[in-house]
């Protein structure tokens, strides 16, 4: 998926990557790429100012940790961040259901991809009509 397409969903992707616990910047990038099965293309540098922005908005908290000679800034979701992630998820499900209903009207209603409690990071896939 192209970088431009991912950009509009970057905040949700970053929040989702941090759902299971605090991570530093590169680990967040890796988590997003792994959870998308390598489908999502990120200009990885742009993740860092985005993390700063999310912290300014109160959705993330950060602290610096030293690992050997390398200092890493670790980010964690705040309460507001968790609520924002839940909102992102709800919005995404409604969006994919609506677009799916238009693009693939033969698919059964409510066949938007199951998320199993996690944000869907990959492209939308609808069950083929039977």
């Amino acid at each position: 998926m192209k970088t431009e397409a991912v950009r509009g969903h970057l905040d949700g992707l970053l929040l989702a990557a941090l759902e299971d616990g605090p991570l530093h910047g590169y680990a967040i990038i890796t988590a997003v790429q792994e959870r998308s099965g390598g489908v999502l293309e990120l200009r990885t540098g742009t993740v860092y100012p985005a993390l700063n922005r999310l912290e300014r908005l109160g959705l993330l908290a950060s602290d610096w940790q030293s690992v050997g000679e390398r200092r890493r800034r670790c980010y964690a979701l705040t309460g507001a961040g968790r609520r924002s992630l839940a909102d992102e998820r709800t919005g995404w499900r409604q969006f994919t259901a609506a677009i799916g209903a238009v693009l693939d009207p033969s698919a059964p209603a409510g066949s938007a991809p199951a998320t199993g409690g996690r944000a869907p990071l990959g492209p939308v896939r609808h069950r083929p009509a039977t």
């Binding site: 530093h24 910047g25 590169y26 680990a27 990038i29 890796t30 200009r43 990885t44 540098g45 742009t46 860092y48 100012p49 985005a50 700063n52 922005r53 300014r56 908005l57 109160g58 959705l59 390398r70 200092r71 890493r72 800034r73 507001a80 924002s84």
Partner: protein, 226 residues
């Protein structure tokens, strides 16, 4: 105008070029660049673990990150907003000092002390508006206007200049009145307010320098091929 000297290590060169493209709050910019540099090191290590030679791995990591020209505008915007919040906090610190000034100067100056109350009100409004617009729940609901850092930088500059003028006026008046100790104290507090806000707005103004006149922001190591 020449850019920063190119370093043989692509990661250090990238970090240096990015740092040169980020005017404004030096400490915040250095921390942002340090974080990105260490992210590049992590990415390089990951490619090395996959079997890539270190030099190639570093170039690949830089390419993945995007060029400095792509990254710098977003970093600059965040730094400008961080400095806007710093200026707002400085203004919030000045407001009570100026109210004390006004209280001290009013017996001697009467209505002549009104500008101090006006400056206190401007500081309070500046702080409240900037902090609400750039952080926390209000900023999550509303888009921050692009012009906000400029507005705060110049409003703060005006308030800071007003504090300097008030300091001068209080010092001059103290020289010709019997209540000079109170006026001198008020002048000292006004000078302190000017110092606090003036320092912050100077950095805020540096954040407004257009990106295309800064050196070293073009296609640097970020654009290098494998």
């Amino acid at each position: 105008m020449s850019g920063p000297r190119q370093h043989a290590d692509p990661l250090i060169a990238y970090a240096a070029e990015l740092r040169a493209a980020l005017p404004g709050p030096a400490r915040a910019a250095s921390r942002m660049v340090e974080e990105i540099h260490h992210g590049l090191l992590d990415a390089t290590d990951a490619y090395v673990r996959e079997g890539m030679p270190r030099t190639d791995a570093a170039r690949r990591a830089v390419r993945d990150f995007g060029s400095v020209a792509e990254l710098a505008p977003e970093c600059r915007r965040e730094l400008a907003l961080a400095q806007t919040r710093h200026t707002a906090r400085a203004a919030a610190l000045c407001a009570p000092l100026l109210l004390v000034c006004w209280t001290l100067a009013r017996p001697a100056l009467g209505a002549g002390a009104a500008p101090l109350a006006v400056l206190a009100a401007v500081s309070t409004l500046l702080a409240a508006a900037a902090l609400a617009a750039t952080g926390g729940a209000p900023a999550r609901r509303f888009h921050v206007p692009e012009a906000l850092p400029r507005l705060i930088a110049w409003t703060g500059t005006g308030a800071s200049a007003g504090m300097a003028a008030a300091t001068l006026a209080l010092a001059c008046t103290a020289a010709v009145t019997a209540q000079w100790p109170l006026l001198l104290l008020a002048g000292a507090l006004s000078a302190a307010s000017h110092a606090v806000l003036g320092t912050s707005v100077r950095v805020s103004r540096r954040c407004l320098v257009p990106a295309d006149v800064r050196p070293g922001h073009g296609n640097g190591p970020g654009a290098c091929a494998e």
